[in-house]
Amino acid sequence: MSDEEIGHIKKQLLQYCDEEHPVFDSLLDHLACLIEDNKSDQSFHQKLVIAWDIFSASEVQEIQTQINTYNHMKTQKLVNQGLIYSMIFSIGTMFTGMAIKIAHGPGALAFILLSLLTATLVVLPLVMIKTYQQEGLKLSKWNNLTLVVSILLFCTGVLFKISHWPGATALMLSGIGSFCLLYWPFSFIEKWKNADNRWTVLLHHMLMILVALMIFGLFKV
């Protein structure tokens, strides 16, 4: 088959399939094989039309869609694995640091700091990627993210307080503040709108505020 003929097949395929797509080369070769196997006296263009009929454009698009779905699933799997390992690492180092701190051993702060860094730089971005992959930009998902950020800020503040580092109060206040101002109202409105039993939603959210205030008071910010 000449380069010109390959070019024709490529041009035909490019109307329905991206050249960078992993399946492009295989489909091009498949079409070329169908044409080569056609031993009739027809011209190349006639053979291309017949091969393309067997192939069908919708099939090409369907193949791409299915392969994109597999790739998406693979990325999701990797993100999930990364999330699990980083969370295990973060929690593990946190508990180790806390155990060393209770035993008044050396290096406790390094462990705690490592845990916090993992949580902030790895766990949280992965949670955001996972959220975005699953639902796109939906209010409920961003709501969950504000909850994660609030908890993270508050926990960081608590750890700063334990370590007697400066800025602990500011961190805890911003954690509680973002919970009360960003998470709570939007979560309440969204659940209130969709709830079958609105009293449960009200009770649930009132309890949430009470718990937040109790924690707030417990650490005497």
């Binding site: 088959m1 380069d3 390959i6 399946v23 489909l27 070769d29 498949h30 192939f55 369907e62 193949i63």
Partner: protein, 115 residues
């Protein structure tokens, strides 16, 4: 021509069997081989074949290598070491399943009623 429903559930195993025996194969070759072996009763569509090959590649069961043939890139698929084990297991599982189906399909009225 066999129903595409039957092919759907067994396609990956058929691909693995062919790759196990042939070493490496390209997409079109697989379709032609299945067509010939089944005496034209199984015709693999591209829409079923390539996504399955890609899924097997992502699972680490098959690996690919490209070669330039007649001015175009041809992707050859072959089994990875994990894939060789997986192929054996999947083939054995399918054979066992088919035997079980055969037992059910050939059971007579008397046998069914005595259960």
């Amino acid at each position: 021509m066999h129903s595409s429903e039957f092919i759907k559930g067994t396609l990956k195993t058929l691909i693995l069997k062919l790759l196990k025996e042939n070493g490496k194969m390209y997409g079109y070759e697989i379709t032609q081989c299945v067509k010939a072996l089944s005496r034209d009763t199984i015709q693999l569509t591209e829409g079923a074949l390539y996504p399955s090959l890609h899924a097997l590649e992502l699972e680490g069961i098959v690996t690919t290598e490209s070669e330039i043939v007649n001015g175009r890139a041809r992707k050859y698929y072959s089994l990875t070491p994990t894939g060789k084990t997986a192929a054996k297991e999947k083939i054995a599982a399918l054979q066992s399943f088919l035997q079980t189906v055969q037992v059910i399909l050939t059971a007579d009225k008397k046998t069914i009623q005595t259960i």
